[in-house]
Symmetry: C2
Subunit: 371 residues, 2 copies
């Protein structure tokens, strides 16, 4: 039985809507997943995450493994109970953050050895461990441990990373099967750097393993936007059509619109939450910086017509005051607006695809930004 059902297929792009069944409910796709690194989408309560329209959040395995540690989360039978979030959770494998945050990270064919960026403690994580940790978090969607590389990377390095990632994918799959996890879904990750032929080999190898879903990893790592789009566009058709497809760590609203057109079903990015904490707010007309002097006496909401809690209750002048005085409420109200913006954008795209008007939506999206 498939957990993913395509519901509408756009006639003139590869965009589609679907629904993904998880142990904690159905996710309507295409979907954006807010990042909840440490068991909290920064500044928001679980009720607010839902009220912003989020259906599923992402947790970071590396961070949660270090703090609070799996022994604490075990007591709550997983992350849902620990943070009081009863909807779906996807976790990354930890690989990307070991690569980017940990100290003295070393990769071998058997996994990652690294030291904690917090206290320097030494750890080893094999592909099997990555699955076990994510099962202890009781993630609805687990990711295979992958080898991340920098941009730019030599072909040889990219090839090695792809090969190791594919080998680990097979080991992760064996591990989750051995654990007999029930509804927890394990996704494979395509690597291969910016080399289309390596991405093709990676996608083909993963497809043979028959995962319930596939991710494109290794994008949004510093490459030009056009190259990122090209890599996503060319990789997507290599993945099984009837499975959910997730581009990791992407991105800007424009990236979400473009990649939805390529047939991507799932996205995550720290941009809406991180930018909110830096006073940068998303609107249909582009980004605004709330600390801009012109908003000092502005009684209007961030975005006229926006239905988020922040826009319904507070003015730009008040938000500027809170932000300038570094009040805690600023981070929360800004985050609410930005997450709402992202989830509303995905909702608009789902609706446009259902009406087979995706290209019209896309034109309107750009017209508002560049009138």
């Amino acid at each position: 039985m498939s957990v993913f059902a395509i519901e509408t297929q756009s006639s003139d792009t590869r965009a589609r809507t679907g629904s993904l069944a998880t142990a904690h409910g159905i996710v309507k796709t295409p979907v954006f997943m807010p990042v909840g690194t440490l068991g909290t989408v920064k500044a928001l309560s679980p009720e607010e995450i839902s009220a912003c329209g989020a259906q599923i959040i992402l947790g970071n395995t590396y961070h949660l493994y270090l703090r609070p540690g799996c022994d604490v989360i075990d007591i709550f039978a997983g992350l849902h109970g620990f943070m009081n979030w009863n909807a779906p959770i996807l976790t990354d494998s930890g690989g990307f953050q070991i690569f980017s945050l940990a100290k003295m990270a070393k990769i071998t064919t058997d996994g990652y050895a690294f030291q904690s960026h917090i206290d320097g403690s030494r750890h080893l994580i094999s592909p099997e461990d990555a699955v076990d940790i994510q099962l202890r978090l009781n993630s609805d969607i687990l990711m295979c441990l992958d080898q991340c590389i920098s941009y730019p990377a030599e072909e040889k390095e990219a090839q090695g990373a792809h090969e190791l990632t594919l080998d680990w994918a097979s080991r992760c799959q064996k591990q989750i099967q051995a654990r007999n996890p029930g509804q927890n879904l394990l996704f494979g990750i395509v690597q291969g750097g910016m080399y289309p032929h390596l991405r093709r080999l990676s996608a083909r190898g993963l497809a043979e393993l028959d995962f319930p879903g596939y991710a494109v990893g290794g994008l949004s790592v510093g490459e030009p936007v056009a190259l990122m789009h090209e890599m996503a566009r060319s990789t997507l058709p290599l993945l099984p059509e009837n499975k959910p497809r997730y581009v990791m760590g992407v991105g800007r609203p424009e990236d979400l619109v473009e990649m939805t057109g390529f047939g991507v079903d799932m996205f995550d990015c720290v941009m809406p939450t991180r930018n909110a904490r830096n006073g940068q707010l998303f609107t249909a007309f582009g980004k605004i910086n709330i600390s801009n002097a012109k908003f000092r006496t502005d009684t209007g909401p961030i975005e006229p017509g926006c239905t988020c809690y922040t826009c319904q209750n507070f003015s730009r002048a008040y938000l500027q005051h809170l932000y300038r005085t570094r009040e805690i409420l600023a981070y929360r109200l800004n985050t609410i607006h930005n997450i709402h913006y992202y989830t509303a954008l995905m909702g608009q795209m789902r609706s446009a695809i259902e009406k087979d008007r995706f290209l019209t939506f896309r034109d309107d999206f750009y017209r508002k930004r560049h009138p």
Copy 2:
């Protein structure tokens, strides 16, 4: 017509319940007012402040005058509209914070000259200015500008401060009458250091001016607790019985219980909010520090039986994790609990007074803390 009505008088203490009518609604007394320094009770939304049981909040005139400035708040016709809080607000006069925060503060018979602690800009605030600024904030309850002194202070200094404060009270009263403000209430402030005969003169002089309410200022400035209680206990009976009586900047739960017994009707203190941000949480059994190692795997709420949002939804283990990782949600969930604790304590006292069981309540209160 009096804005304050005493509803119940305890038979064996001076404690009483009452109701205070303001332009933004009735306040049931005795009441605790959470501090909302900069137009926000730190970390909470207006709905959360209400849900915690707070009836009225305090704003700091000195801070709001500097940031965002009265010109911004004018556009919203006052602080209520600016921060979207539609219940009563009391503001201090700014005197205490000029005295404790501003740079180069100098006092003359005509007011305070000082430099902003933020940008060094120079300002002059006379008693009349203090009233005008608070009217621009549209405070429901304004405080007269007073001269604050350090502890300990020589009698001569305390006498001078009392005399100037009394003179300014008269000037503030004339100013508010000239402004014909309608329902905005101006309270006088008793000063006189730790000298009972000066406090008597101060109280008598203020009573002659016939304010709608009175505050005891200059307490909780570093004096021993017993002396603070003694000064409050001896000053309270000197103030008109039928007017609301407010002890400023106090205090610990024990202080609220003792002083309610002295006949105090109103309190404010940064303790519940500030301590929350330092991980210190109030319970009927005393304070706990959420970062204590013993809470790492504790699945229980902060306080069993507590009906606050935090206790209803989150464990000590999760709160410790959020606090240790300095997540924004930690400050908010801790603040919700502490404000709820303070307002629930006041509610329990109101209920006990109504049943004429205040001394029994007081005994129970101490028995739980020192079993």
